[in-house]
């Protein structure tokens, strides 16, 4: 898995741990996936499954000093980010890899004008004058369809609505024309009509600028709507990986099936009993070595004691091959 020119990013057996009172806990346990050029890869899973930690490990933005990357490789445009110097990483973050966070109010600085925050990233990564950066920033606001951009440049974040703020965060993430954008729950805090606006905007910008996107979300609807490829995570591991069309049409892992069946859609009859996944995700400290979904379901026997391997069942469709979870 190295140097494949079709992929902008390849994550290989990534392991990330946190130091806690209960010892070293693996939040991400040998996660591998790749992001093709100009495509959108969705990472989906329930809270605590390690999807955000995976993304933050890629750009090495983990809480310090507790978070540690213990193994694996992250190949980005031919080099391993896990072995890059901190100075190199500063150029990568915000430059070649842009990040969109969930909470736009937390991602923006409340005491600085929008203009300063958008032009700052340009000044940091490109050798341009203050005036040029300001003009480029104004152009970025226009690109993310903010009305009257010259005027908005002088506003503070609290002047803007949630949807407008998220557009600013997108403008900052895209200002340096990155090759990859990591969007961590970009629409979770927004209303559905605003979510539709933002997803539409991201799709249009992707076709205009040609970047790849990693979209982290818990919402399978958002995945179905926007992603080319999907990575399903459970308890720090990838349990299934496939193209979006294949995954929704032909899910193989019991966890993926459970997730897909438990969302009410407009077609499910009213007040019918929804499919549920019994129990809940165990805390990291309670995890066993074997199949973790079997652990949730209370199925612990000889067959599930060993860690299942990720196997390619059909071209491009990978599943954690637990004999119980993948049986029909």
């Amino acid at each position: 898995m190295n140097g494949d020119s079709d992929n902008i990013l390849e994550v290989d057996k990534l392991i990330t741990s946190f130091e806690t009172d209960r010892g070293l806990l693996r939040a991400v346990d040998q996660v591998s996936f790749s992001v093709p050029k100009q495509k959108t890869v969705g990472i989906v899973g329930e809270s605590g499954c390690g999807k955000s930690v995976t993304a933050m490990s890629i750009i090495r933005l983990l809480p310090q000093p507790t978070g540690k990357i213990l193994g694996g490789h992250v190949h980005f445009k031919g080099r391993d980010l896990l072995r890059a110097s901190e100075a190199e990483m500063r150029n990568v973050r915000g430059g070649e890899i842009g990040v969109i966070f969930q909470e736009p109010m937390a991602a923006l600085n409340p005491v600085h004008r929008i203009g300063r925050q958008v032009s700052e990233v340009l000044r940091l990564h490109q050798k341009i004058s203050k005036k040029d950066a300001w003009d480029a920033a104004t152009e970025m606001l226009d690109l993310v369809r903010i009305p009257a951009p010259e005027k908005r440049m002088m506003d503070y974040p609290h002047h803007l609505s949630g949807g407008m703020r998220q557009r600013i965060v997108i403008a900052i993430a895209l200002a340096c024309r990155p090759d990859l954008v990591i969007a961590d729950e970009p629409t979770t805090a927004l209303d559905v009509t605003v979510q539709a606006q933002i997803l539409d905007l991201m799709g249009r910008l992707q076709s205009e600028m040609g970047m790849s996107i990693i979209l982290i979300t818990h919402d399978l609807g958002v995945i179905a709507e926007t992603c080319d490829e999907v990575v399903v995570m459970y308890a720090g591991r990838v349990v299934e990986r496939a193209s979006a069309v294949e995954l929704f049409a032909n899910p193989l892992h019991a966890y993926t099936k459970g997730l897909l069946r438990s969302i009410p859609t407009l077609e499910t009859p009213s007040k019918s009993i929804l499919n549920t996944i019994p129990g809940m995700v165990a805390s990291l400290a309670e995890h066993t070595h074997g199949c973790r979904f079997c652990q949730r379901m209370g199925r612990v026997d000889r067959r599930t004691r060993e860690r299942p391997t990720l196997a390619e069942i059909s071209p491009g469709h990978w599943v954690e091959n637990c004999p119980v979870c993948t049986s029909k």
Partner: protein, 347 residues
């Protein structure tokens, strides 16, 4: 649908305005019209869903219904009593009948109280049962919401989000209420847990015949659990119909846009969305005419200033605001004031 049945709850022209004060003397300079003339009925055993975007006033309406807020005007008829202007003392015995479940179970449960004390507290306040009876009741309630009896001696923070929501439901059930207002009860939960809680709410309704006023922004969830659905926009109900009808045949432009914005769960069926411009306008100083017409800059907006835009019946049980900006020309012809059409608000 519930025409012949006497409603459990009947809200009429309810308004909740919050004063906006400014200046050194804190004079009132305006008002946030959070709920601005809402009329709704809930029948015994029925679930009425309420959807709308953040800031539309849906939570304020929910709180006003259980009188956690005092409405500015209008009436809230619960069974045979108008509770809209009762004082706290007069309300207390009535509160047994209407309870509330909140969005964030972590914030609505006291971390210093054991689960037993949390569930038992309403029983003590209302002076119900002896100590042993109450203990028995708490155990039964825990069982009903699917928690082990051993949970009673633990603290709420020891539980996950879904389990905490179960504790919140057990507390709401303790007094055997007739109505539970559920304010975004599943939006903070993961999908697999969300479906567990929805199933629990449906089962409890079947067992006890409770009515729900179910407030949420997730339209698929609301559709799933509700008998009828009301759509709220900027303090007003713009459409009200049986759940199946509103999803199959939405008439108001805002309802159509909301439905279209739901992401489809089939990557092969990605559909073109109705993309709305901008955001919900501020309820301080709302547009004089059709609020949604103003947002979409509809050419007929000017004409709506001064119109009643009342909720009017377009087909049996299906009400929609008579608003030329938000209806198809054919529907508008039918509902134009002066034409036939039975007004919901003025009945």
């Amino acid at each position: 649908m519930h025409v012949e049945m006497k409603p459990l709850l009947s809200i009429s022209d309810l308004r909740v305005h919050f004063p906006v004060r400014a200046g050194v003397m804190l004079r009132q300079t305006g008002a946030v019209r959070a709920v601005d003339g809402v009329s709704l009925n809930i029948a015994p055993g029925e679930t009425l869903g309420l959807v709308g975007e953040s800031g539309c006033g849906k939570s304020t309406l929910g709180k006003a219904v259980v009188r956690l807020l005092k409405p500015t005007s209008g009436s809230i008829q619960f069974e045979n009593t108008d509770i809209s202007h009762l004082n706290q003392g007069a309300l207390r015995p009535m509160r047994r009948d209407f309870q509330m479940i909140f969005q964030d179970p972590a914030e609505s449960l006291d971390p210093r109280m054991s689960v037993r004390s949390i569930i038992e507290e309403p029983l003590i306040i209302h002076g119900l049962g002896t100590r042993t009876e109450r203990t028995q009741q708490v155990n039964e309630l825990l069982d009903k919401v699917g928690l082990p009896t051993s949970a009673a001696e633990r603290y709420s923070f020891e539980f996950s989000g879904g389990q905490r929501q179960r504790i919140g439901i057990a507390r709401a059930l303790a007094l055997k209420p007739k109505l539970i207002v559920c304010d975004e009860p599943v939006s903070a939960l993961d999908v697999s847990i969300q479906s567990q809680i929805l199933n629990l709410l449906v089962e409890l309704q079947q067992d006890f015949g409770i009515s729900y006023f179910f407030i949420a922004h997730d339209l698929s969830v609301v559709k799933h659990i509700s008998d009828r659905v009301a759509v709220m926009y900027l303090g007003k109900i713009v459409e009200l119909a049986p759940a199946e009808t509103i999803y199959r045949d939405p008439r108001h432009a805002y309802t159509k846009a909301l439905l279209s914005a739901i992401p489809s769960t089939d990557p092969k069926a990605r559909h073109k969305k109705i993309l709305l411009e901008g955001d919900v306008p501020s309820p301080i100083d709302p547009p004089a005419g059709s609020a949604f017409g103003h947002r979409i800059k509809h050419p007929l907006y000017q004409e709506t200033i001064g119109m009643p835009l009342a909720l009017t019946e377009i087909s049996t049980g299906h009400f929609v605001a008579a608003d030329p900006c938000c209806l198809t020309p054919e529907d508008w012809e039918k509902l134009k004031p002066g034409n036939t059409g039975h007004s919901h608000e003025n009945s």
